[in-house]
């Protein structure tokens, strides 16, 4: 049992972060804090991806002293193919060259770069919305917003 947990120790902080983030989103009434929670939640997923790319004893996936094969881009891609055990045809040439050394899988890192960009964009839009909400309502507390909308509804119903 202990062994099982220890083998997966890297997931423990991820789960803690994830749940903290989700809890903050649900529990807080403050719109900015809610975004903080959301970011925490997203970040924990980035960590999840990054840990999954780690290969024990693996080196950084950089091919040094490249004498006869492709540019850096090709190299990274070839390694990705290797990590995925599905080397593509055009990378086969470099693949046999690096087959002896174990590399960490860089693909999750690349993916997470994209996800980080998405996360930043979401955060930016969210914060912009909070600013506009603050301008329109004069508050960023959920309860106060609901109260304001409620009075709007009953006010216009006359």
């Amino acid at each position: 049992m202990l062994e099982i947990i220890l083998e997966r120790f890297s997931y423990i902080p991820i789960i803690i972060l994830m749940m903290t983030g989700l809890y903050v989103v649900i529990a807080t009434g403050n719109l900015v804090k809610r975004l903080v929670g959301l970011s925490l939640f997203q970040t924990s997923v980035f960590l999840l991806y990054i840990t999954m790319g780690k290969v024990f004893g693996g080196q950084p996936p950089i091919i040094a002293g490249d004498a006869h094969g492709g540019d850096a881009g090709h190299g990274a891609d070839a390694a990705a193919g290797y990590g995925a055990e599905a080397a593509a045809g055009h990378a086969a040439e470099t693949a046999h060259h690096v087959a002896e050394i174990a590399y960490s899988n860089p693909l999750p890192h690349v993916l997470i770069l994209t996800a980080i960009v998405v996360g930043v964009a979401t955060l930016a839009v969210g914060l912009a919305l909070v600013v506009r909400i603050r301008e329109a309502y004069g508050t960023i507390e959920d309860d106060a917003l609901n109260a304001a909308d409620y009075s709007l509804e009953t006010g216009s119903a006359e």
Partner: protein, 508 residues
């Protein structure tokens, strides 16, 4: 079909799958820099036409030449990103392309009324990003890419929904809530994709399916399944993950609501089908269990509860938004049957529902444009003051109920047949009860429109007849007409739906 396939020169046709996503993306940047809203609209219109033509061309190519696999940037799958079009996503491309075009035509007068002049160009730009995102989700064959495009479309959707704040500040809170829930959904999805990657070592959807078939489904895959279903279910407004939808639809600019209601949830639903059927196999035990105990049950509950909620709404667009949630329930039920007949009924309803809701929201937009009305009781007497728009609204709402002579009837026919084939009598009963509830809420709208007298104006005289601008009227009437036309010529849509189901179920 041959004619469609040869719509474009071969040099362009080869790259059509890439162009259909890339053109709107680039044009979004162009539109952002347009000095005037009208110019930006022009850019958007050109883009939408191009996309519609491309989608028709792709339909032609797929139906004559089979599945298209396009290696992005020349990197071959499974390592590179693949754009993949088969009979399942071609209807979606067509739907987004053509309904998108109609919505864009509709947009000009509607947006001019609702969005501040300074913001119009940016608004169109954000719309184009959303458009590109939806097309991207539909066409990509790469699981992580689905996430990226899903977020591209979602983030831009948050902004364009928030732009409804000009008319009603509640658009801001609606958009914010959508943002929070949408992001949670997307994150769930990306966790699921991560697990799938752990289990299979690939991100290509077709490749994933192949690896899973070879290795079997272990617990990681099951976890992935759960995360993906929740994530995509949230985007597709699957009950009870729909709470973001009613307010978002009710307060967004009218054009946005019309567009989103007929495309966005549909695309997410497509992604769900793609993962459930193509990646996980429908015959695997836990997937089969989820059909009966998750999708079918959730679908039926949505059909009942959301319809019931719709009956009691005061805001007309909120009413239709709840109806949308209920209609998603119909599609979920079809999916939950787990048979080719059920899936094709579900796909058919997906397309038909886009036709109905597009016309309905456009008509509500037209009412809002001329008289500024948005509550159900304010619709009083519009049958006299805006007869053409009211007629289109009536046709589409009868279609929503499933009255014969409209496509809604065709949808219901196939759904019920599929349920009978599966031996699910309770589902038939649920479909009928839900139709009756639909009748109840539609009757509220229609009786307000046709049976009430228009409120007297300031001087005590009834408002005169006012025709909606033709750019509003034309796409709306076209959609309403399509509701009738495809009843008599159900073949094309039924054929597409059948082919879509067969593409993933592997039957014929």
């Amino acid at each position: 079909m041959d004619m469609l396939a040869s719509l474009l020169p071969a040099g362009i046709a080869v790259h059509a799958p890439a162009l259909i996503v890339v053109i709107p993306l680039i044009m979004a940047a162009v539109a952002a820099f347009m000095p005037k809203g009208l110019w930006a609209w022009g850019v958007t219109l050109v883009t939408a036409i191009a996309v519609a033509v491309l989608s028709l061309n792709i339909l032609g190519q797929v139906s004559t030449g089979g599945v298209i696999s396009y290696a992005m940037g020349g990197w071959l799958p499974p390592a590179g990103i693949e754009l993949r079009v088969d009979m399942l996503n071609v209807p979606l491309l067509l739907l987004v392309g053509i309904v998108g075009l109609l919505c864009v035509i509709y947009a000009l007068p509607s947006v001019a009324d609702e969005i501040a002049k300074k913001q119009q160009a940016l608004f169109y730009s954000a719309f184009l990003v959303c458009f590109a995102g939806l097309l991207g989700v539909t066409i990509t064959g790469d699981a992580f890419n689905v996430f990226v495009f899903l977020e591209i479309s979602s983030i831009s959707t948050y902004t364009i929904i928030a732009m409804g704040a000009g008319k009603d500040r509640r658009a801001l809170t609606a958009s914010y809530n959508y943002l929070v829930l949408g992001t949670i959904g997307a994150t769930f999805f990306v966790i699921g994709v991560g697990f799938l990657y752990m289990a299979t070592g690939t991100l290509n959807i077709a490749d994933m399916a192949a690896v899973l078939e070879q290795n079997g489904h272990d617990r990681v895959t099951q976890a992935a399944f759960a995360f993906i279903v929740v994530g995509l279910g949230l985007k597709a407004a699957m009950f009870p993950l729909h709470v973001w939808l009613p307010n978002a639809y009710a307060f967004a600019p009218n054009f946005v609501t019309a567009f989103l209601a007929s495309t966005a949830t549909k695309v997410a639903f497509y992604a769900l089908i793609r993962f459930v059927f193509s990646v996980f196999h429908p015959e695997v035990n836990f997937v089969a269990m989820s059909f009966t105990w998750l999708f079918a049950v959730v679908g039926v509950v949505a059909m009942m509860v959301a319809s019931m909620q719709a009956v009691f709404q005061t805001d007309a667009r909120r009413l239709l938004a709840y109806s949308s949630v209920a209609q998603v329930g119909y599609m979920m039920l079809g999916l939950g049957m787990g048979t080719a007949a059920g899936l094709s009924a579900s796909m058919l309803h997906l397309m038909n529902h886009a036709l109905m809701k597009g016309a309905l929201f456009m008509a509500l937009g037209a009412f809002a444009l001329n008289f500024g009305v948005r509550r159900v009781k304010d619709l009083a007497g519009l049958g006299q003051t805006m007869p053409a728009s009211s007629a289109a609204f009536t046709v589409a709402s009868l279609s929503l109920v499933g009255v014969p002579l409209t496509v809604g009837f065709t949808s219901k026919w196939y759904l019920v047949t599929a349920a009978l084939e599966r031996g699910w009598w309770w589902a038939v009963a649920a479909l009928m009860i839900s139709s009756l509830l639909a009748l109840a809420y539609v009757a509220r709208l229609l009786s307000a429109i046709w049976m009430e007298t228009p409120p007297a104006g300031k001087a005590g005289i009834a408002p005169a007849r006012r025709l909606a601008p033709w750019m509003v009227l034309a796409p709306m009437s076209l959609l309403a007409f399509a509701n009738i036309y495809f009843f008599f010529h159900a073949d094309p849509l039924v054929g597409l739906a059948r082919a879509a189901a067969n593409a993933v179920m592997g039957g014929n």
